[in-house]
């Protein structure tokens, strides 16, 4: 094992806590609300001109998604701070190119002081028997979106995998770096 490899990315099934959402949880069948084109929304108004409804006619996009909110913020016992849950869609690397860059991307989760460049927008997810991405996938951090806290139980029912604490640290570190710009 080289230094860029996470010792294990996902918890074993018997170790997964299906009663809670945690940072790094992988959910299946999530509607990717971030894919909505705001310009295609039709707003309905009443006689007073108040906006009372909206409609959007387009094919909904469903995908796997990963929980980006940190675990303590979405802890159900933490009723004060739990206001929304941030998700990021997962994209199949079989649809990505070029191949040589993909191989670099797969090694880019580990970042330290000697790292000159990375693929900060993407967090690589290894293949797993419960995932349909046989060649691996990425969490697209640039396409994150949030849903309201009253969606918690719905999201929880879609949880299929939980990342290891080590992998979660890599994920949160890369996410922070992606949003941080010092230039």
């Amino acid at each position: 094992m080289t230094d860029w490899m996470i010792s294990y990315m996902y918890l074993e099934k018997q170790d997964i806590d299906y009663s809670l959402l945690r940072q790094g949880d992988i959910l299946e069948g999530i509607q990717i609300l971030g894919a909505i084109n705001l310009g295609a929304i039709t707003i309905g108004t009443n006689i007073k001109g108040e906006k009372i409804s909206w409609s959007y006619t387009a094919k909904p996009v469903f995908s796997h998604a990963i929980v980006l909110s940190h675990s303590c913020e979405i802890d159900k016992s933490n009723k004060v701070k739990l206001t929304s849950i941030i998700l990021s869609p997962i994209r199949d690397l079989n649809n990505a190119s070029p191949e040589e860059k993909i191989e670099e991307l797969k090694r880019s989760n580990y970042i330290d002081e000697n790292t000159d460049y990375s693929y900060l927008k993407y967090f690589y997810l290894e293949p797993h028997e419960l995932l349909p991405f046989k060649g691996g996938a990425v969490a697209d951090l640039a396409k994150c979106f949030s849903v309201r806290k009253n969606s918690y139980d719905i999201l929880l029912s879609h949880k299929i995998l939980q990342m290891s604490p080590e992998a979660v640290r890599y994920l949160s570190f890369k996410t922070a770096l992606y949003f941080h710009r010092d230039k």
Binding site: V80, D92, A96, K101, Y117, S118, Y122, R148, H180, D182
Partner: protein, 115 residues
């Protein structure tokens, strides 16, 4: 104008319309006064209002009343406590962020989502 009720037994009626209002010309004030001075009408109105209040209360208890759905619930700053954030981690993020280059744009996807 306000309709004042200072004595339940002897209702008083404040004129609802000015005398130059065409409606008043037809004696609407008289009609209103006659209705409000009618003990039977007062009893009917009381029963109706009580029925409405009880009905709404039962709906509230049964959960069938749609509450105001506020997508951005109140956050009480005073109730928040700060997270413990490792300052070394922040320094590390800033330090690495100063020199690292992002090559994400070199990856192309063909999955229908815009890049």
């Amino acid at each position: 104008m306000t309709l004042l009720r200072s004595d339940i037994d002897v209702p008083k009626v404040v004129p609802l319309f000015e005398t130059d209002n065409p409606i008043s010309f037809f004696g609407l004030n008289n009609v209103v006064n006659a209705i409000l001075n009618n003990i039977r009408f007062e009893q009917l109105l009381k029963e109706y209002m009580e029925a409405v209040i009880y009905s709404e209360y039962l709906k509230l208890l049964s959960g069938s009343v749609i509450k105001v759905d506020d997508p951005f619930d109140s956050i009480y700053i005073a109730d928040l406590s700060p997270d413990k954030i490792n300052t070394e981690t922040i320094k590390r993020i800033v330090s690495i962020g100063k020199k690292i280059e992002d090559h994400s744009e070199q990856i192309l996807f063909n999955d229908g989502l815009d890049d």
